[in-house]
Symmetry: C2
Subunit: 358 residues, 2 copies
């Protein structure tokens, strides 16, 4: 029997509800494939702020580092919205990413055939969209120095940040993206702003250099403004997209909204070694927290990514993915993906139904 | 009779064709309102590169500066795509913006009822969209220093840029945006990434401070990743959007694609004083250049913005806007906006038809 240590970070809002479902599903799928877990539940975000005064307690961080994988629910809520930046729940995410060195953020945006009408895009445009955004997650303008506030020559206040990429940061995310593209449809689109930014010129040069090692992958380059358009005009032209931290933040959210059901979308953040971080792309939805209305699919699919990418347990992952499709096919829906003719259920009941199909 | 000096910059690709139509329309609408022009045609972009070796000759720049307004077609083409950055046609745009100090870039994205089906968004989502992106155009990461290439502590190559905003840069674009919002539906959404970037924290703080002077405008703030989603989910929630240079580049292109007809969309770039710069948001479309297939509407509408925002000649502007609507209502279309049941015409013929309605 294989055994893994998993740190669970339920966080805020609907986080605890969706993590609870995903944990049950993980256990069941694992037990059917000879996998055992030790779960450690830790505080993060607003919950951690309230209990300990900081959004990412040391205890949480050290547990995460010593695990085989980390599964996170969501952080944030109205209560902490006006906190200073270093006391905002969201900073816990940035700290966790940096400390775990998970530089490759995988964000699939797939349209489920059962949910295609939830997209605001026309059916013929949305149908069949299945793309993966590979976002650089531990560099660029999110972490670049110098940053802060200062005064310029005229004694005026300024705010500044540095977009910076070193060669090895680009190289490793490029390798990650080429490998993923290779396992998908063999097409990689690198998105940058090389007509304006030096950081992007280096990005494009390195991605092109590394392409030599992946002759089986077809590489293209696109400016970020054009990519933002093409995602709407014809999202099916994309297979795998690789881009920097800030462009990835924007484009992956745009891509997810194209599917019309962000309650369905998981993500994985991976480093060179050490535990990966897995989480739904949706937020903490404080407006429906604690009401058994949350959609657990995205977190359940994040658990599947945890098994597949984090633990190399493809079979158990496949069980979960199949169970999600079965449950969709049975017509069971939470409120966010409900449509006439389907059956509205709560978070818990949906979890139980998924379990039946694992 | 009022008289104005206009610098025309046809540029590359379809630029000359659409500028030629817009010039005729300008002359006619002007003559009916007692306006005379002196036109100066100058080289820019690839055309300037081929003739003079630089994309933005001094002669062009000084003519532009000494005009009352500048009307630009488009720059760029395959031929110059592999040029070094400072010899790319597009750099002429950056130079022109900086030299003319046109810090406020107005990019309307309106869905024409006649063309709503061209959008990839569902009719009920696209119908009635009428928003304006006010993009900061002469600051931020596009021009911030330090920038360039260097080596880090490990002797590794880096590319870097600086996102920086000083208080007065934010203040003046905020004032411009509030004034525009006031003339529209009184709603302004400021887009930033204040949960991560110090430059955005200052941005949000200054925009909020300046809001005090515009109690009649309803201000909201949104993170850029969320804005990229909301533009797809429900674009009608937006009236006026104000944002920095790079976010504005991405979001305004995204917003324009929502309309489904970027061949229809004009833009204006304005400074505190001096000539404004007016141009269609589409590119040079080298694939159809010289074939009389280009859609001149966007440039014609840019000429209307030139009259309205650049010369304060609202009546002449209105003539042009009405003529565009009349021509659309007559069912005349270029290829990019053609649909069954309408009449396909070339760039020239469409220009002549617009003239009939001015
Ligand atoms: C909450 C925020 C700091 C974060 C980011 O910008 O990375 C979020 O938008 C995300 O994409 O996970
Ligand atoms: C060509 C490029 C430099 C330019 C920009 O990024 O500003 C263009 O995309 C635009 O939006 O006008």
């Amino acid at each position: 029997q294989r055994s893994y240590t998993i740190t669970l970070l339920p966080g805020d809002g609907i986080g605890p509800e969706v993590i609870s479902v995903a944990k049950d599903v993980l256990i069941l799928a694992g037990s059917l494939e000879g996998i055992k877990y030790e779960f450690r539940e830790r505080l993060i975000g607003g919950a951690a702020l309230d209990a300990t005064g900081v959004p990412l307690p040391d205890e949480t961080l050290s547990s995460a580092k010593q695990s085989d994988a980390v599964l996170l629910g969501a952080v944030g809520g109205y209560k902490w919205d006006n906190n200073d930046k270093h006391l905002k729940p969201e900073t816990a995410l940035l700290g966790l990413r940096q400390e775990l060195k998970v530089f490759a953020n995988l964000r699939p945006a797939s349209v489920f055939p059962q949910l295609v009408d939830a997209s605001t895009l026309k059916r013929e445009v949305a149908e069949g969209v299945d793309l993966m955004v590979v976002r650089e997650l531990t560099g660029g303008i999110y972490f670049g120095k110098p940053r802060g506030f200062g005064t310029n020559e005229d004694g005026e206040e300024c705010g500044f940040n540095t977009e910076i990429y070193a060669q090895h940061e680009i190289d490793r995310i490029a390798h990650a993206a080429f490998k993923i593209a290779r396992k998908r449809n063999g097409k990689l689109c690198s998105v940058d702003k090389a007509n304006v930014l030096e950081a992007s010129i280096l990005w494009r040069r390195r991605v092109s250099a590394i392409a030599q090692e992946y002759p089986d992958v077809e590489l293209s380059h696109m400016y970020v403004d054009n990519a933002a358009m093409q995602l709407i005009r014809n999202p099916k032209q994309f297979d795998t997209i690789v881009t920097n931290n800030i462009f990835g933040d924007i484009l992956s959210d745009e891509a997810s909204m194209i599917t019309g059901s962000i309650g369905m979308l998981p993500s994985a953040s991976l480093g060179a070694s050490g535990p990966g971080l897995f989480e739904p792309i949706h937020g903490s939805a404080p407006d429906i927290a604690g009401q058994d209305k949350a959609n657990p699919f995205a977190t359940v699919l994040s658990a599947a990514m945890l098994l597949k990418y984090g633990l190399d347990e493809g079979k158990a992952a496949q069980r979960i993915e199949n169970a999600v499709l079965d449950t969709l096919n049975k017509g069971l829906r939470t409120g966010d993906i409900y449509s006439p003719g389907t059956k509205l259920v709560g978070c818990k009941e949906l979890g139980e139904e998924i379990m039946k199909s694992v």
